[in-house]
Structure formats: structure tokens, C-alpha cells
């Protein structure tokens, strides 16, 4: 019995172990070597990925080669992670792009959010903290039901409907949540759609949501994305239409609230809603970051995101880096929020009750 076991163990080992050994030793020959992990290599890879994938050089009117000439001399293989982080973040700030982020992965350096650039006290800074809206303050005005992770709704004074979106859910969850919300709010005289804390998600879901507020079909956005290493290499243009979706469409007056933190799919939703005649935009200018922003990586393991697309409204205008201005400017301040007040929401309620 023992000899039989040994005989077949040997058979198996003679066949499988050499295969495992050969494959393991040839692995990097079969898949290719990993790029060198040095500060210079990491900087070059970072700059090059933007060069071959960033979709907004033309819109931002930025000479990316000049950025290389400006920042590359500051990089050497002797520099520390901190110093490399400083160079990379200073370079991407020039893009003024809320969709450009750097995620160091050494556990010591904080994630750098592209953020919205603001001019404050004579210097340019990045707006990283939302100080003009807080969901818990909104709850002082309206009791909210939450049918999905990112959708909440309620009724104010039995007259004005209120829907708050903080992002996009899956299409299926969104359909269910919007069905429930609009069925309960269909008899209100107007509706406030609060997108001030909408941090983005899927554009196709935003397209569906916009369709819950229209009875007609309209072009609202075009998009194209980089598909080659040259700055002018793009895919064919995609056209995005807002068209009636779901069972109930809300076509009475809609007041859309936006802020500097309304971004990405929140902004493409805003683009669609701006095409509709019964919407009024109130609040602050949106973030100005419409494009998809997939993540890429560096040889040192750091992660970064960048905008690969060129998204425009139905008239061909890009709002990247600028944002969508509201028709009625209204800003809630940090002091208002600390006092439990939301003057922008109060103005919207007042308008909705008229």
C-alpha cells in the first residue's frame, strides 16, 4: 500500500512540480517587467498618463509640455515621497479640475483632492470642506423618507415637494426610489430638487432621473473621450438626450438647488434639467467637473484620477473648470449652518409656495 502511494505521488510530483516551477520562474518573462519605481520614473509616468489620456487640454488652454519643463527639473531620484507628493500636487493644481485626485498609498500622506479652486484673502486655495450645505440642517425644515441610499424626499407645508440626492444609486434602486418619491409628491404645487450634496455617480442614471421631470425629448449633452496618445485623439461624439422615463413625470415648477460641491453626475443631471422650461436653478455655481475620471496607477503604487472626456452642453459649450451658474444666486454660509439655518432652502421654499 505504501509503495503504491509513493509510486503515484512521484508520478504527480514529477508532472506538476516542474510545471509550477517553470511557470513561476518564467512569469515575468511571460507578462513583462514592471516599470522602475524611482521618483523620476514615477513623475514621468504621471506626466505621461495625463499627456496621453487627459481630455481637457484644449478646454483648459493648458500647455502640458510647459508643465513638464516647469516641474521636471524639481524631481530627482534622491527626493523623498513627501517631496514628490508636493511636486505632483502643485502640478495638477494647474489643471483646476475637481476630478483630478492623487491617492498616495504609503499611509502617511493624505489623499489630495483636486477640489474647487477659490480665491480667498489674496491667495488661491482649494475648497475642500463643504460649508454651504449640510443634510442635518435640511432636516430642520423637512422630515425625510429615504427610499434608497442616495435619495431622500419629503413634503414642506403640504405644498412643496422636496427631493434630496447625494449621488446615484443603481438604475434599479433609482427607479424604485423615484417611483415612490414622485408618486407621493405628484400632488404638490412645486418641487425642490436639492443637488447641493450630489457628489456624482453614473451619468446614465442621472439621464434617467432627468427623464422623470420631462414630457419631451431634448438633447442636453455631448461627450467624447480620449482614444489615443495625441491631445486631439477622441472617440466619436456621443449625444445624450433627456426623454420621459418611468411611470410618473413631474412637470410642475421645479427649483434645483446647486452648490460648489454639486459635481460630476450631479452636474450632468443639472445640464439635463437646465434644458427644461419648468426648472429654476438656485444656489451657487457647480464644481465644473463633468467628465468621467477613471483611476490610474504609478510604479510606486500611488493611485490618481484624471478627466478623460470632453463634455459639453447642447450648444457645444464646455463648463469644465467653471461650473454651471444658477439663475438665482443664494449662498448659505458656515455661520448659517452652525446656527441651524439654511437661507438658500428658505428662499427655495418661499419661491415654491408662490
Amino acid at each position: 500500500m505504501t509503495s503504491t502511494i509513493h509510486q503515484y505521488l512521484r508520478t504527480i510530483l514529477f508532472l506538476i512540480v516542474p510545471c509550477l516551477f517553470i511557470m513561476a520562474s518564467c512569469e515575468e518573462e511571460l507578462i513583462g517587467p514592471q516599470a522602475a519605481n524611482t521618483p523620476v520614473s514615477n513623475f514621468d509616468h504621471f506626466w505621461k498618463t495625463f499627456d496621453t489620456h487627459y481630455g481637457l487640454f484644449d478646454v483648459k488652454q493648458l500647455d502640458w509640455n510647459a508643465m513638464y519643463q516647469q516641474f521636471r527639473p524639481r524631481v530627482s531620484d534622491q527626493m523623498s515621497d513627501d517631496e514628490l507628493y508636493t511636486v505632483l500636487t502643485e502640478m495638477i493644481v494647474q489643471l483646476n479640475d475637481n476630478h483630478v485626485n492623487l491617492y498616495p498609498t504609503n499611509g502617511e500622506l493624505p489623499v489630495f483632492p483636486g477640489g474647487v479652486i477659490r480665491y480667498e484673502n489674496g491667495t488661491l486655495t482649494i475648497l475642500k470642506v463643504q460649508e454651504d450645505y449640510a443634510l442635518e440642517v435640511v432636516k430642520n425644515y423637512v422630515s425625510l423618507t429615504q427610499p434608497s441610499e442616495n435619495i431622500r424626499f419629503g413634503i414642506i407645508n403640504n405644498l412643496v415637494g422636496y427631493i434630496n440626492m447625494t449621488g446615484t444609486d443603481s438604475r434599479k434602486d433609482t427607479e424604485k426610489a423615484m417611483d415612490r418619491a414622485l408618486n407621493e409628491l405628484k400632488d404638490t404645487q412645486s418641487l425642490i430638487l436639492d443637488l447641493r450634496g450630489h457628489y456624482g455617480g453614473m451619468d446614465a442614471v442621472s439621464q434617467y432621473v432627468a427623464g422623470r421631470f420631462t414630457s419631451e425629448t431634448k438633447l442636453y449633452m455631448t461627450s467624447r473621450k480620449r482614444n489615443g496618445p495625441e491631445h486631439d485623439q477622441f472617440t466619436a461624439v456621443n449625444e445624450w438626450y433627456v426623454r420621459p422615463s418611468g411611470g410618473v413625470q413631474y412637470t410642475k415648477p421645479v427649483i434645483v438647488l446647486t452648490s460648489r460641491f454639486t459635481q460630476s453626475a450631479g452636474e450632468t443631471l443639472s445640464l439635463a434639467l437646465r434644458e427644461l422650461n419648468h426648472t429654476t436653478f438656485m444656489g451657487d455655481t457647480t464644481a465644473g467637473s463633468f467628465s468621467d475620471n477613471p483611476n490610474f496607477e504609478l510604479p510606486n503604487g500611488w493611485i490618481f484620477s484624471l478627466s478623460v472626456g470632453d463634455y459639453r452642453n447642447s450648444e457645444g459649450t464646455s463648463f469644465e473648470g467653471r461650473g454651471l451658474p444658477p439663475a438665482i444666486y443664494s449662498k448659505t454660509t458656515r455661520d448659517d449652518l452652525l446656527a441651524g439655518k439654511d437661507p438658500t432652502l428658505e428662499r427655495a421654499i418661499e419661491l415654491g409656495m408662490q
Binding site: M1, T2, T4, I5, Y8, L9, T11, I12, L15, I16, C19, M23, A24, E27, E28, L30, I31, G32, Q34, N37, H45, H53, G55, Y103, P104, T105, N106, G107, P110, V111, K128, V129, E131, A134, R171, M202, D203, A204, Q207, K225, R226, N227, G228, T235, N238, W240, Y241, D292, P294, N295, F296, E297, L298, P299, N300, G301, I303, V308, G309, R334
Partner: protein
């Protein structure tokens, strides 16, 4: 999974020894089997469309297989599923550090690992013609083809490594029956026509009126070995310890070279212990 696999392998070998006195079955009987295989392996890849990093996963593997054999033909249906964690090979312990602040001035530091997971699935259907041989031959040789659909679905901070490929592969296999209980088999296949879907050059899948899945598959195109090369080698040892039941060990190695939209190269190695019912 290793805790499960080792006892299974040991049991297989013990049964090998104990079953020498079982009733002998007809020589080179037809292999009509249904079975389950459990295993472990490695998946390693470099996807230059997204990342300069080599990724490695050590997924657990489950396979269901069904074989039918006539005097002239062999048929096989395999369903595979793999799942495991996934990390860059040379940066396995990446940590992200978020510093968050709200309007009240409250700050919060959050650190968490930038980990990922790996899932893969494959369903394949093969048909083979048995090359005639003498009654005394201890070798069975068959040639044919296999239609497979394979999905690599890594989840993490990037889309590196993601693909789905429907492919047709010519395949050859040879089996050597050592005696009435023991046999060895090997097979080799190379896809010649494939319909691979990969993330686009820009690494996004969003498009108007499309969900993410249909956006992903909108990038698929028919291609040949120039753009999709994925040879696979398999070795198998089987032991039939009764007329109805058997077990075995198998090793499989794959190499992938996908050229669209930018080069992806990967290798997989899997060792499986299988158990089957012979009917």
C-alpha cells in the same frame, strides 16, 4: 481553501492504496462522468491600459464538470469559478489616508487598505473526435474544439485586468491508461477566434442610454491570435477507486496576451483535486 484541499488530497491517495482489490472494470471504458473539482492557484497580470503594476491574486477555484463519451466522440462541459483577494505584487500593503473635515470644523483621519478582490468565471463546451486505435492500446488520442467564455473581474481602485472573452479553440488531448485504476491525461488548446471585451482606451464604460455592462461589451470585437493569444495546458491524473467513483489531481496553466486597447499579459496556474461519479 488550503485547509480543505490538503485533507482531500490525502484522502484521495489513501483511497488509491485501499482500492487495489476492487472489482476490475472493463479496459478503457467510456468516460461518462459528472464531478466537482476544488483547487487553488495564482493569477498574475500586467495591464498596461491602466497600470504599470503587476497584480497577483491567489484565488480559490471551484469547477463543475460533465463528460460524455461515445465510441467515436468525447464531449465535455466545464463551469469554473475563482475568487480571492488581489494586490499589486510589489506593493501588497498599500494604505490610503483620508483627512476629512466638516463645516463644524471637526476633522477625522481615516486610514484603510487599498485592497481589491479578484473574481473569474469560465464556461466551456468541448467536442472531440477520438482517433481510432487498437484494442490493446493504452493511449487514447482525441482532437476537437472548445467554445469558452471567460471573465476576469478584478475589483479595486482601477479596472486593471478586466476582460471577457468568448473564444473558439482547437484542442488536442491524450490519455494514457496505466492500469485499470490509474490514468494520466494531457491537453493543449489555443484560441484561434475570439470576441474579447476590454475597458476602452480611456478606461471608462459609461455611455448614454447604456448600463455599465452594455457599455463594457460595446468595446468587444472579433479578433484572431494577433490580438488575443491564450494558450492553455492541462495535466491530469485520475484514479478510479470503484466502478462508480473516482478522484484525481489536475494542473492547468494559461498564458494571456491581449493587445486591445493596450497590452494585457497574464498567467494563471491552478491545481485542482477532483471527485467524480462515473455512469
Amino acid at each position: 481553501m488550503k485547509k480543505l484541499l490538503y485533507p482531500l488530497v490525502i484522502c484521495t491517495l489513501l483511497m488509491t492504496a485501499q482500492a487495489q482489490d476492487y472489482e476490475k472494470r472493463p479496459w478503457m471504458s467510456l468516460e461518462n462522468r459528472i464531478g466537482l473539482a476544488l483547487g487553488i492557484g495564482t493569477v498574475t497580470y500586467l495591464d498596461k491600459n491602466t497600470s504599470p503594476l503587476i497584480y497577483r491574486s491567489k484565488p480559490a477555484n471551484v469547477r463543475l464538470f460533465y463528460n460524455l463519451e461515445s465510441n467515436t466522440f468525447l464531449f465535455s462541459l466545464d463551469v469554473d469559478f475563482r475568487i480571492g483577494s488581489n494586490q499589486p505584487k510589489y506593493h501588497p500593503n498599500r494604505t490610503l489616508y483620508f483627512r476629512e473635515e466638516d463645516y463644524t470644523g471637526k476633522t477625522e483621519d481615516k486610514k484603510f487598505p487599498a485592497g481589491g478582490s479578484f473574481m473569474a468565471g469560465r464556461i466551456s463546451l468541448g467536442t472531440y473526435y477520438k482517433i481510432p486505435s487498437t484494442q490493446e492500446s493504452t493511449f487514447k488520442v482525441a482532437v476537437g474544439g472548445r467554445i469558452s467564455n471567460e471573465l476576469f473581474y478584478p475589483q479595486g481602485w482601477t479596472m486593471a485586468g478586466m476582460f471577457n472573452a468568448l473564444s473558439f479553440s482547437p484542442e488536442g488531448m491524450v490519455q494514457h491508461r496505466i492500469n485499470e485504476h490509474h490514468s494520466l491525461a494531457a491537453n493543449l488548446r489555443v484560441p484561434v477566434v475570439a470576441w474579447p471585451a476590454r475597458p476602452s482606451y480611456d478606461n471608462t464604460v459609461s455611455a448614454p442610454d447604456k448600463n455599465l455592462v452594455s457599455g463594457f461589451f460595446s468595446n468587444a470585437e472579433w479578433t484572431g491570435v494577433k490580438k488575443f493569444l491564450a494558450p492553455a495546458l492541462g495535466l491530469r491524473y485520475d484514479y478510479q477507486f470503484s466502478q462508480r467513483w473516482g478522484a484525481g489531481l489536475q494542473y492547468e496553466a494559461n498564458w494571456y496576451s491581449i493587445q486591445t486597447p493596450q497590452p494585457f499579459r497574464g498567467t494563471t496556474q491552478t491545481v485542482l483535486a477532483n471527485f467524480y461519479h462515473h455512469f
